[in-house]
Symmetry: C3
Subunit: 471 residues, 3 copies
């Protein structure tokens, strides 16, 4: 029998009445602030084309690796969830059956942030009032699909309804940003920008690196067989990105390693990388050097750097072979920052023009490395809890371990970092609630007064993101 | 002056009235569920022979390394606690004096789980109502000994009184499981099974490895001087264990490293290991390979694998020399899983028949590695907080860091993992209380409804252990 | 408009009324106990000369790296805060302007312990009732300076007013301890002792190591060009320190590594170190060996050892070059203890005379390594949360992760470890509050009774420090 689905107005606040009352007051003042989403992975085509979303399975299950990784972990085949096979082998095509499978396993998400995000979408976007289960799966599926077919649920309408002030996607330097330019030219008031994510032309281990380098050269008219031409190509594409409103770059390296090598050595590394003969250590060193090169360019052109290190990509060999990348099989690894970042920081750490936002998948670095680094270096800021850690508990751990040493002003507000467009308001709402509850705790143990906490709630929900990303 | 000893009915629940009320309700419904103890180290001879326990010191102090390590840390000689010297040197023989020494240092345990377990035993098993101290040490000692001499305190009677549905011990492949077979044949309804713990014949660095290999061959009629005979010997002993009701294996390796080497290389490693000339790295590699071999056999025979890595054994050279192993001198070390498990997972990670339960002594792996791994791979499950971490705080850290990414259904309920038989109900009670309080918190911040929390409380207390261990 | 500044009597206690009431009761009984400050970095000259402090900027900003690192992290030049340049370049000389700059950025400290310490000083030492801000900066500055000019604010008067029973500073073996001896001879009843901190003559990588060795020889009349003369010089200086009342040594090594090498090898290492030709690994090995040598001497002379490992010193190359060491640019790194300490522990770990107090900047070691080690080895004790972690959250993490395995009696009370003299009472007050709140939690979840918690509150606030440091 289906259970009632209600979003309690005090969800995620402390059970303590005193703290809850303070949190509620802080939250009331920020809950309707516009959403700044300065880092994420939605598809810009949605907002340029503004076509209706297909159906519930295509929108809510197939693109959401949080959802299908959990189902897979309990023995459900990815084929049965409709994920495309690399070899074109048949997979489930019937969205309804996929949805039913999901619904009948919805209990697996108890206690996870996915459950919270999904329930919020179900209530706030689609108006459901029963918890998803086997019995109401069809009703859910039909209701969602019917809604998606209406104009009110097209991408731009949702963008506006979600009160998004700015949304950033992430693109390769090879992208022509056609969708972003089309959006800008369309007269629609929604602001959708990109971020310069050069991994495909910086990481010698990226699939198709050599081809990408050639395309990079063709696109820019630079000779990317030489290191200076290659750097010049970066400069040109960064300038192009910037001309479309882009304010940041993003770097998804395996580690936080940086380097500052003599030019001749870098050129030799680049030649090796181009030839496909770089060893793993040489590839790593090239990526390390390129972070420093990117910092140098950021000082020139003002783009804010984001560093997202520490993910072991495509850990499941069988899944990678059958389904390709980004299939929920990326696993965090130990990541250290102190020695790794030193070459870049020695070179550019005190340059006034530089902002480098650090993220981590290794929470042990919060109090030990990241807060001490960001609490000292003028160029460093700390990104919010990322990926596996953007849960209520992850957000609390972040504030508890970072605030003491880095304060609030060396952090940059929230990133949703998601492909799941419909979950964006839910994710920001969780962040605002958790920040308000944390501030309420500081008020209740008399470390902040109410007015200060109120100012900080606005900073954390809105202002810091605008400042850090130069929006 | 002795203090009153009372077990408060709400112990370990949040001080918040609202959360406490929810926790109390959840706990009421699970507190009397039978105990599943799928992993531990009690002595099966207790239950086959059913002889009365000797005295309070022999039962509660000498076998409990949690107890004597704390006393030792504050300067009490292990000899004075009656622990046997390897060289036969005289140690304290008088149980009463040992008990008095313990009683006069009982304050050292304040705030530790040992204190909770012991107090629970004192109240619930023996009916005491004063906190143990110097003044009442003799009264305690005499009362316990008098009780132990009665039939109601023999092992089987306690097993029944404790409402244990199943108890698993852990034995070497060389064991004849005589006690387990005797129990099964005795007509007694208590279910006591073993687990296949092959470390003595898998770890080239285990004391007496060469002799154990010979015995392994004699026992199975296999030629354990060849790798194929050695593997066949494992298969036979696993089949024998299984025939007595065993459902799991257990592996206590220094690290989580696995390997999938070419057969010729494995045979060469095995020859080195047999000869006693394997280097530490070669011994490690052999253990790594054998985890993969054990996984292969588990797919065939269905035994659930348990991996307990990360303990630096016998750290105190002087204690090891004078008293031997398992004397409270094992210390956790950093443990990583992501790269280490990949060879095994690449080989067998998507096999439907495999269950591999991962434990850790390095809590930093919870949110960074273990929850992401178990939240993806179908064969992986997370064991409960282990050893040093089966405290209330350790249990809370586990749920807070694991649930967000792995949910509840990739965990396996509680293990007491103890030699201290009398503490088993107390340990499970702590786990049930902490889980109910954690669920109550999720109810109070409106992430779960009461009914869901009630279902989960039963799963965590009872059902998940049965399922995961195929009981 | 300035905000009211009030120190709430219940600050830092749980918002839960029940827990708060217990915490308040415990705190009432310990808040006025004398302060034992067994480890810190105040200047003994203050107490021998007893000259008035100069002004607010010199006293509260320039010596406090917590304060200026936060300001620097948000783009304020260290020159503008009046920190001296190594090259003698001009820096801000006007204390009032420095103070104004600080005041106008006081919001940066929201949520940090610095904010709490400073506010406590502002209220309790100077009687302010408004939060520092741009508008009242001059009033603050003038009021503080006027107070400092009076006798009641001279160092000895403040020492007495702060109810300090003992204060330890930290000096090089080359120090003549003139100030300490002058204090002892002065008839003043304040007890100010030193600690033997031999890094400058033990660490081959310390600036001026060779010169320090020569001076060490001259001072002791020993031939410090030989290892035996060098050891003898240590023995003499330790004896000298001890003769002035010193009870401890302190070791600030990059890692916790120890060694127990053959004598010939040590002598060769020493010769290399003296010559300035030791590689980083050789320097590390020499430091490692010297920890074991210091332990040997501690067994002889009874001095308590303190080990403070894990800081990457002077990480910011530009700041180090322009301003020198201790400028807020030291960053913690991963630190491991288990294998590292084994050589020393194998040699001396069971010697009854030895006390080795371990500190960490890597909180992951608390539950994994430090509590298990200290909960076993008789010579080991755990120092309190250190440096970046002496925040309310850091203190809670310490108790939550350490108590379960090491209990309370393997910890040593609080260290303020500060150069900021005025903040000492505030820092001890934070520690007492957090410990009382932690004990209150154990009372409220019925793990301790009130009387036990009361005993423990006194131990943690006062007695354990006296015992551990042999005061």
């Amino acid at each position: 029998m289906p259970r009632k689905l209600v979003l309690h107005p005090d969800r995620l606040f402390s059970p303590d009445e005193r703290q809850r009352a303070v949190a509620r007051g802080l939250y009331e003042a920020v809950k309707d602030l516009p959403i700044i989403s300065p880092h994420g992975h939605t598809d810009p085509a949605w907002f340029s084309g503004n076509a209706a979303f297909e159906n519930a399975a295509d929108l809510l299950i197939k693109p959401d690796h949080y959802v299908f990784r959990m189902l897979y972990s309990q023995g459900i085949a990815l084929e049965d969830l409709g994920l495309s096979r690399a070899d074109g082998a048949p997979v489930e095509q019937d969205g309804r059956r996929i949805w039913q499978l999901f619904a009948s396993h919805y209990h697996l998400f108890r206690g996870t942030p996915s459950r919270m995000w999904l329930d919020t979408v179900f209530v706030q976007v689609f108006g459901f009032d029963e918890v998803l289960c086997t019995e109401n799966a069809d009703h859910y599926y039909d209701t969602i699909n019917a809604a998606l077919a209406t104009d009110a649920f097209r991408p731009r309408a949702l963008f506006e309804r979600f009160n998004i002030e700015l949304l950033s996607t992430t693109e390769s330097p090879l992208s022509d940003l056609a969708h972003h330019r089309a959006i800008a030219d369309s007269g629609w008031r929604g602001r959708v920008i990109s971020a310069y994510r050069p991994d495909p032309v910086i990481d010698p281990e990226f699939e198709g690196f050599a081809g990408a380098l050639r395309e990079f050269g063709e696109l820019t008219g630079e000779d990317t067989s030489t290191f200076s031409g290659y750097l010049q190509a970066h400069r040109k594409r960064r300038a192009f990105f910037k001309s479309t409103g882009v304010t940041s770059t993003d770097h998804g390296h395996p580690t936080a390693r940086t380097a500052d090598l003599p030019r001749a050595e870098v050129e030799a590394l680049f030649a090796l990388a181009r030839s496909g003969r770089a060893s793993p250590e040489q590839a790593e060193l090239f990526r390390a050097q390129m972070l420093t090169e990117m910092a140098r360019m950021s000082i020139d052109d003002g783009l804010v750097m984001q560093l997202h290190p520490g993910s072991f990509r495509n850990h499941n060999a069988s899944v990678f072979q059958r389904f390709g990348r980004d299939k929920g099989a990326d696993i965090p690894v130990q990541t250290s920052y102190v020695a790794q970042l030193k070459p870049l920081l020695d070179k550019f750490g005190t340059e006034p023009g530089l902002t480098l936002i650090l993220f981590t998948l290794d929470e042990t670095a919060y109090s030990r490395e990241l807060a001490p680094l960001a609490g000292h270096y003028p160029c460093l800021r700390l990104g919010p809890p990322w990926w596996f850690h953007d849960s209520p508990e992850g957000m609390r751990r972040f504030r508890e371990q970072v605030t003491e040493t880095a304060g609030f002003y060396n952090t940059v507000g929230f990133n949703d970092d998601t492909r799941a467009f419909l979950s964006i308001p839910a994710r920001h709402d969780v962040a605002r609630r958790m920040d308000c509850d944390w501030l309420a705790q500081l008020v209740c143990d008399h470390r902040l007064d109410q007015a200060e906490a109120g100012e900080l709630a606005v900073e954390l929900s809105y202002t810091l993101a605008r400042k850090a990303y130069k929006l």
